[in-house]
Symmetry: T
Subunit: 70 residues, 12 copies
């Protein structure tokens, strides 16, 4: 098994609809500058309430990516 080095960063994605969409939104946004994202792990699920309705899901997660050789 060849050896790589990975870096993990922490992102928070938001969505009006679901936990799953909040994560996908952040991955899509982060992909403009980060290549080779490989896995994620949820660290926190929070949200915002307005007039007794959950109007935003805020999901924090660690995402790992391969440090690429130049």
């Amino acid at each position: 098994m060849s050896n790589h080095t990975y870096k993990t960063i922490e992102l928070t994605g938001t969505s009006n609809k679901s936990v799953e969409e909040a994560i996908q939104n952040a991955v899509s946004r982060a992909s403009r500058t980060i290549k080779e994202m490989r896995w994620f792990e949820v660290t926190e699920i929070r949200g915002n309430i307005n007039q007794n309705l959950v109007n935003q899901w805020q999901v924090s997660f660690k995402v790992g990516f391969t440090i690429q050789d130049e």
Copy 2:
């Protein structure tokens, strides 16, 4: 930034369908007596299984609200 005091309580909501609906159900029910709920944070996701089907999602979360001036 003006200073407020917030109180946090812990609720458990239930739903036959999803994590998201379990939280919204509890927020709706709690809104009869609590005003100004502002944010929440999930602390536990559990559920009930009956005949090999998840028939209830039980989501515990802390919810914060502003202590209002009378």
Copy 3:
């Protein structure tokens, strides 16, 4: 209240679609050999990313079942 003994095991279910489906998939698969599953508690929500899309949800959870009398 009559006294029972319960055993808890840890499973990881996967789904291309949602956290909820990942758990149900694992419960369905485990039901071939485990009877009387009663409750579960999520311990970890992870996933796989491929070309900037979450292509698999991986949800770990503890599931409890009654130790049955033979």
Copy 4:
């Protein structure tokens, strides 16, 4: 399975005798104002020592109860 909303509060009970009695003491005292307590979960076991004797058990626990419809 019908859906309810539960509230969880944290109490600390005390006893000169045992962990079990400390919890029962607090449940009895709290029952004057809280109805429908259903389950508890111990969060901390502490105590007081006087002249090298444990003279008080102090047990903190979360207790959950159904939010009743008026």
Copy 5:
């Protein structure tokens, strides 16, 4: 040692100046409705940043008080 029952609630106080003042602010505000607060324990120290200055300290803490006999 006589036995009492204590209840613990969670508050978040805010201050533009310090961690200590954020807690005192919340205790003062809560004292309008809660009597006999006895101790607290800090659970989270957060804050808000505006134009690179910490302009608000937000300190969450558990506060315990004696459940009084009527």
Copy 6:
């Protein structure tokens, strides 16, 4: 010191009387199929309340046993 391999499983025992009895009940029940249990470690103390009385102690614990050579 000779080297062995141990396996740890998680059980929940119940009792109407005490934390200690809940654990012994589960160890006795599990001993029908598991040999060589050696140690345990409590992971959770919960219980059930009925009409303001603790009517069941539910104690979860990890129990380790030697994997025996056939």
Copy 7:
């Protein structure tokens, strides 16, 4: 309120009978060299099993005492 400094050490007491006795045993033994023990907090409840019987309770706890002026 006058200010003191406290030191906390960690002990493990054992008993064939109960969690409570294990703690008292250790406090009694430690009192030969430590004066002014004031409070304790349980950190771990373990035990030993022999022939399917819990034959020893092992309770670890932190105990605090006043650093006395000479």
Copy 8:
């Protein structure tokens, strides 16, 4: 509520004087390269002792900022 993506990084600030100043020092220093810092959360309070005096406060915290559109 419009959806943004946030990134969280971890910094350690130092001060000879207080916890609060240690955080402000690090925020000021980080602001040379990071724009739009919005909130922080303390993760660790440590310090250095020299000749029985606390001569440096070292405060670690997570700080979140909006990932800006180019």
Copy 9:
């Protein structure tokens, strides 16, 4: 990505020599009855001391394996 279900168990391996060997010893021993072990995660590193020498490393870890179709 095809969906599988994984089961996680907890083992403790021992070695007189190193953390790494303790894990390999337990994996080798467990492989007599468990097929398709895929990954592990260390949960605890303990050891035994005899006459001031570490004479045994005891490493606990979770190990995951695919639940195979019969």
Copy 10:
């Protein structure tokens, strides 16, 4: 880099004024018997409330010192 052995103990300092002073008070008091204290790490921030005023800060921390050669 030369190798040393360090011991860590846990202290609780108190102050009527601030978190920082509570730590310094305990370090000063402990220095009568412990030499070479090098670093500390805060583990708990608690306090006492009297008539709705925080009248004592109680800060627990681990402090490390070099085990000196005689």
Copy 11:
């Protein structure tokens, strides 16, 4: 003691041989872009198993470095 600001990032290094080598591999790889790494702290030790052999150690750790003045 002069005040600096430190940044902490999280890396995962891999090795076929040992925990120690996995960390050194990642530090060496990261040193191409990060200067002044000063300390690290292990957060997770995992690994991969192939045909009952640990064929890769995967060690996650936080590494801190001084934010340099330009």
Copy 12:
């Protein structure tokens, strides 16, 4: 099983070579004043980096020993 009382202290050992040697170094050094050390449990693995090489392993661990009768 006869009952003993154990005390646990926390040490940090260092080594230029490995995690295992760091622990053994501290046990050897501590044995000059502590008799009857029986077991240990690792609480933290840290290290120092100099010019991109790990030049010191710093391993913190709790070590338990029997409180001996005089």
